[in-house]
Symmetry: C2
Subunit: 330 residues, 2 copies
């Protein structure tokens, strides 16, 4: 505590910009170039700068809290999203906390839970509960491609259609002509399925898709891949709705004695921490959870500062990450 606490002037100096530009970044203004914003955010991190929290925060009922509503803690896709949110929101003085609707006991309504914490802002990263949109007094930003996203609410998402197309072109380029798809419920999974099938069929490949519409869990991926591989001869590649289902498929392949990728290629979606482990080393689509989190954080800061919602979707481009679970068709 001996070093003096850094001020907004220190941040401006370190970033090589004016104090008022730092203020604009802290308020989430969109009148700031990407380069200046990055320089300011970097200086804030390097200096450990924290905006002074006016004593009026408490009096005004501000909690400096942003609540993120997700589906299921057992699916680590949300880790990058929360990291991206934190990188933008923490320097602006906000704290990110995560509420998981799947783990709630049936007696408790996740919407009421989120409302009860009086967060200054809410990020919805699951299919959108209508009651939340109707009742929330705080600004909402939707992260990801979601069912029932209401008109007029800001949405930040990766382009699931483009990502699934990358996955399809990859396996087709490897020579796979009979491909399985592990489907799941929810807006993102549906968008991925539609684009993957359209791309593959257009290229003259055949896709056998499962008709499962429940949550995209490891167990669901294991079951669906097992059925697919047993009931449909000649499938040499599988595209799963997400990484967790792909890990289920890897387990099914192992149990059936099918080597990956020599006998079966598997592609996931999300580029989760699991996909990046040395053990799993999964070919997947990086849907830029970190970038979606940063963008959602910036939009939310602007909304919390009183700006009206844009009511449009900001779409980030996904990329393909080729690792060890895909290879040429035999």
């Amino acid at each position: 505590m001996s070093a003096p606490r850094p001020t907004i002037y220190d941040v401006a100096r370190a970033a090589g910009v004016s104090k008022s530009l730092v203020s604009l970044v802290l308020r989430g203004s969109d009148r700031v170039s990407e380069a200046s914003r990055a320089a300011v955010e970097s200086a804030i991190r390097d200096l450990g700068y924290r905006p002074s929290r006016a004593a009026t925060d408490l009096a005004a009922g501000r909690t400096r809290l942003v609540a993120v509503l997700i589906d299921d803690f057992a699916n680590p896709w949300f880790v990058e999203l929360v990291r991206g949110l934190g990188q933008v929101l923490a320097p602006a003085g906000y704290r990110v906390t995560v509420v998981d609707s799947a783990n709630a006991a049936t007696a408790e309504d996740p919407v009421e839970g989120v409302l009860s914490m009086h967060a200054d802002g809410i990020v919805v990263a699951r299919d959108v509960p209508r009651a939340l949109v109707d009742s929330a007094a705080s600004p909402i930003v939707i992260a990801g491609t979601r069912t029932d996203a209401p008109v007029g609410v800001d949405v930040v998402a990766n382009d699931d259609g483009a990502g699934a197309r990358l996955a399809a072109l990859h396996v087709i380029g490897l020579g796979h002509r009979r491909i399985g798809h592990l489907a799941a419920g929810g807006g993102a999974a549906r968008a991925r399925a539609a684009s993957f099938i359209a791309t593959a069929v257009e290229a003259g490949s055949e896709v056998v898709a499962t008709d499962y519409t429940g949550p995209a869990t490891e167990a669901a991926g294991f079951d669906a891949a097992g059925s697919l591989l047993r009931d449909h001869a000649g499938i040499s590649a599988i595209f799963a709705a997400n990484d967790v289902m792909a890990i289920g498929a890897l387990g099914a392949a192992r149990d059936l004695g099918i080597p990956v990728p020599a006998g079966l290629s598997i592609v996931g979606y999300d580029n989760t921490p699991l996909a990046r482990t040395h053990l799993i080393h999964l070919t997947t689509v990086d849907d830029s959870g970190f970038g979606v989190g940063r963008e959602a954080g910036r939009l939310l800061i602007a909304r919390m500062a009183g700006r009206e919602p844009v009511g449009v979707a900001r779409t980030l481009q996904p990329s393909l990450v080729v690792r060890g679970t895909t290879g040429p068709a035999r």
Copy 2:
């Protein structure tokens, strides 16, 4: 919304107990038998009963929120803890939210973050920040074996010494006589290391332990296991400080071309959702995260109702879960 909302009388009837006993359970009383408590909790879930939230909650500044402070979202050991907490706290009208200190930007102090959300209760499931204990106006329960757990604060944890002993006896029973241990920082990891080494040495086995004291991540497990296997001939089994490090070790073994379990046995700790996947199928110690969560939730309910902290540790017994990553020494 046409069915009448269930009342406390409905719960009492369904559980076969009196209304006042239901009240005792909702207040977290310890004057309730385990059987009655289970019956009431089950009836609450089945009926979807929610205690009416008095309008005075808001006036009294109650948020009905319980904050859980964890280390790192990328390590899914916390999933069962949160499930256990939710099972007890949701029927009592509390919502669980998770704050991750690893993902916080450096500019933000996790302690300040937790304080700013004005939670009615706090569960600390990482090494305990002194500033939090000093500043928090709300009751705190510590979950897990933690460094710097202050005297006078309730602690619920599994018996890490007993769990590591189970792991040691398992690999020794399989005939392994030269065993690696992947150490890590933190109170739980240290307790596991000490007990594992003592048990193995007592049984006449040799343990080569790494001296790493950082966070127990997959990357750390991969690096440590790689060094261990390259530098020390004859190691036929590895006990990792937790599941995530064990998954790193599985990756290292694969990269070195060592088959598991034929050439190397690997044991983790936590019984995370990852350990239970068909693909990883990891032999591990179940440290009863769900049970720790339930007990911590009950203690917290009692504290939030005004009862003084017990100031003692409640210790749950861990169990060994044998899966596919351990086998006989050659």
